[in-house]
């Protein structure tokens, strides 16, 4: 008998109508009573809510913009790291493709972020303040520092096509810029995990421990895959290793989330999110296998197939986590059930002990 159940019977005018006892109990499995026997506001479920309406507001973000911004940020950060490695080890082709990927992804990522603003013209308001309590603020500053660095490094690749006077300057700045970008690049790949974890959205907030690792690994899979697919097989070895390592860690983190989150993990395997994540899993596995095979055979076709699969897997994973979060915010059960358990537990230990 719950505490409220006792209250209910205490205040009743006893025996007035000889009505059924236990009217205050919660419905469903937890309350040990089926829905429908008394004035419960919630249809079939084992928790109470206000007409089944959401407690939280779902993110107002467009999945295309924001999941895209996470994915592209991952590609950008990972590619910048690969570009620096390629530069230092004299892999000219790999350097070129990763530098181009880094600047393109950074540009598109910023464009997606700005496009999603309710007032895109006010993007610069992000740079009024720097707030450690806001991952979006920190991330915007990181991206703003990162973008010019990868841009200069990319210009270095197009050196011959630049007007004469700037050529020597870019040539001198190319490598230092690319190397400086590696200071920020790892954070570019992981801060987006902190960004969504720092919300009230049950799936995202509860997965706060894994998300930065998952997003970082997903970034490695995507950027490694893209680099393997776009460079010569002879130079692609490090890109393959990065892609495969990213894929393996991403899968491990995904499994850890499913295990640790309990019922809150349900939206990850249902509906649209579930379909995206299933696709992500298979795509990532296939990509890793193909790249591993290519590491033995050095095949361009395998590199392209495997790399593309890894890129797709990373994109699907971001979309899957995005949609699962949105679902967990709109469905009241993922807010109410864990919090009710916590509250009941606290009441028991607090009052009893």
């Amino acid at each position: 008998m719950s505490a409220s159940e006792q209250h209910g019977s205490e205040v009743r005018r006893d025996g007035l109508h000889g009505t059924a006892p236990g009217r205050e109990a919660r419905i469903g499995a937890r309350g040990g009573r089926k829905a429908g026997r008394g004035g419960e506001m919630v249809p079939p479920a084992e928790f109470r809510s206000y007409y089944g309406r959401s407690v939280l507001k779902a993110p107002v973000w467009e999945s295309r913009d924001i999941a895209g911004y996470f994915f592209l940020g991952g590609v950008a950060g990972g590619s910048a790291l690969l570009a620096a490695g390629a530069d230092l080890t004299g892999r000219i082709g790999l350097r070129r493709s990763t530098r181009v990927a880094a600047v393109a992804a950074t540009g598109l990522s910023l464009a997606a972020l700005i496009h999603d603003l309710g007032r895109p013209g006010r993007f610069v308001h992000m740079l009024r303040v720097l707030k450690p309590s806001s991952p979006m603020s920190v991330g915007t500053w990181i991206l703003s520092g990162f973008a010019p660095l990868v841009a200069v490094a990319a210009l270095d690749e197009a050196r011959e096509r630049l007007p004469g006077p700037v050529r020597p300057m870019i040539a001198a700045l190319g490598r230092p810029s690319g190397l400086a970008a590696t200071v920020l690049a790892p954070a570019v790949t992981t801060y987006t995990g902190a960004l969504i974890a720092d919300t009230a959205v049950p799936v995202w907030h509860d997965a706060r421990r894994e998300l930065p690792y998952l997003f970082g690994a997903s970034a490695l899979a995507a950027s490694g895959g893209l680099a393997a697919a776009t460079s010569a097989p002879g130079e692609a070895a490090p890109a393959r290793v990065v892609g495969i390592a990213g894929a393996l860690v991403e899968q491990a983190c995904d499994r850890a989330v499913h295990k640790r989150l309990g019922m809150v993990a349900e939206p990850l395997s249902q509906g649209r999110a579930g379909r995206y994540l299933t696709a992500a899993r298979w795509s990532t596995r296939a990509g890793a296998a193909l790249l591993a095979l290519s590491a033995l055979r050095r095949s361009r076709a395998l590199d392209i197939a495997g790399g593309t699969a890894l890129v797709a897997g990373s994109l699907f994973a971001r979309l899957g986590y995005f949609h699962a979060g949105a679902t967990s915010a709109t469905e009241p059960r993922y807010t109410v059930v864990p919090q009710r358990e916590r509250a009941d537990h606290a009441a028991k230990t607090g009052a009893g002990g």
Partner: protein, 320 residues
């Protein structure tokens, strides 16, 4: 805070005296010139507002329950009425809310159509003579003006701000509509106005407060269910009120958001409820998300180091 600041002000919403007149909703809309957000019949008792949103800063919830309120002998018992339709109507609403659980702005609810009830005919009466008890819970919801406000913490532009009264407001000339505050709020309060792009929520009538006036809703409330005042005084008054209600046999009376040790450090707008918070659409144990951010940052930094190390190792290992 410096000494010239006024004390922290707040709302105490005593739902036990709310009569569901919605004067607060109307006064809020009028005073703050909030645009209309649709007109619909939701099938949720007398609640045709739905929930808080960008264009609804006070929302009166109506909950019908088959049970008595305290020792009160309500009229329903003496009347030859049948069973209440509370469950059946909840089913119908649930059906109409659809996939998104009514989480959309304002009064949008998806398709609630007249027609046969999804659960078949009206449920049979529980009592032999067909009479039942009924209590009607009403509660006027509002932004909680949290001590630790997630919306304010995560705002990347500094648009969300704490005032000298300890309340939380949006500076509309700063907000760029990034939308981060929306899923950050543990109560689902703040929301984006679609046609405008920016977010809006209760300001506790900041303009009135600075002029020494009480907020429009508190002023309009005919039963003093909404009380405005110095937060510490309100907390004291609320504790007394709970005691009184317990003495009167309303044992289910409880405070919500009054505890400075709760997950948001106590709400600046707190409530006296007659049932569990989730019944009114409140989260049972809200926590400000930024409480966990320091640890998340640590994991983020560690993950970043891992990313860099993986790439470095890949190049070192792949040396030709």
């Amino acid at each position: 805070m410096s000494d010239d600041n006024p004390p922290r002000m707040g709302f105490f919403t005593d739902t036990s005296v709310c009569i569901g007149c919605k004067a607060c909703e109307v006064a809020c809309k009028e005073w703050n010139a909030i645009p209309d957000d649709g007109l619909s019949l939701l099938g949720m008792s007398y609640d045709n507002t739905g929930m808080l949103g960008a264009d609804t800063w006070r929302h009166v919830a109506f909950i019908e329950q088959d049970k008595p309120l305290g020792r009160q002998n309500n009229a329903v018992i003496a009347m030859p009425t049948g069973a209440t339709a509370t469950h059946a109507s909840a089913e119908a609403v649930h059906e109409g809310l659809g996939q998104k659980h009514g989480s959309e702005l304002g009064t949008e609810t998806g398709a609630i159509r007249p027609g046969p009830l999804p659960g078949g005919p009206m449920p049979a009466p529980v009592t032999p003579d067909g009479r039942k008890e009924l209590r009607w819970l009403m509660a006027s919801d509002v932004c909680k003006h949290c001590t630790h406000a997630a919306c304010l913490d995560v705002c990347p532009t500094g648009s969300l701000l704490r005032t000298e009264f300890g309340t939380v407001i949006v500076q509309e000339d700063i907000c760029n509509g990034c939308g981060y505050c929306v899923p950050a709020c543990p109560y689902g309060v703040i929301d984006q106005r679609k046609d405008d792009g920016r977010v809006w929520k209760c300001t506790m009538c900041y303009d009135r407060l600075t002029a020494g006036q009480e907020p429009a809703c508190a002023k309009a409330c005919p039963t003093d269910s909404i009380q405005y005042g110095v937060l510490d005084d309100l907390r004291e008054r609320a504790a007394h009120r709970v005691e009184n209600l317990h003495d009167a046999g309303v044992l289910e009376a409880r405070l919500y958001g009054a505890d400075p040790d709760d997950g948001v450090g106590g709400a600046g707008a707190f409530f006296l409820l007659l049932d569990e918070p989730e019944v009114y659409g409140f989260p049972p144990d809200p926590v400000v998300t930024t409480r966990d951010l320091p640890r998340t940052w640590k994991h983020t930094a560690l993950a970043a180091v891992g990313v860099a190390a993986t790439v470095a190792a890949a190049f070192l290992g792949a040396r030709r």
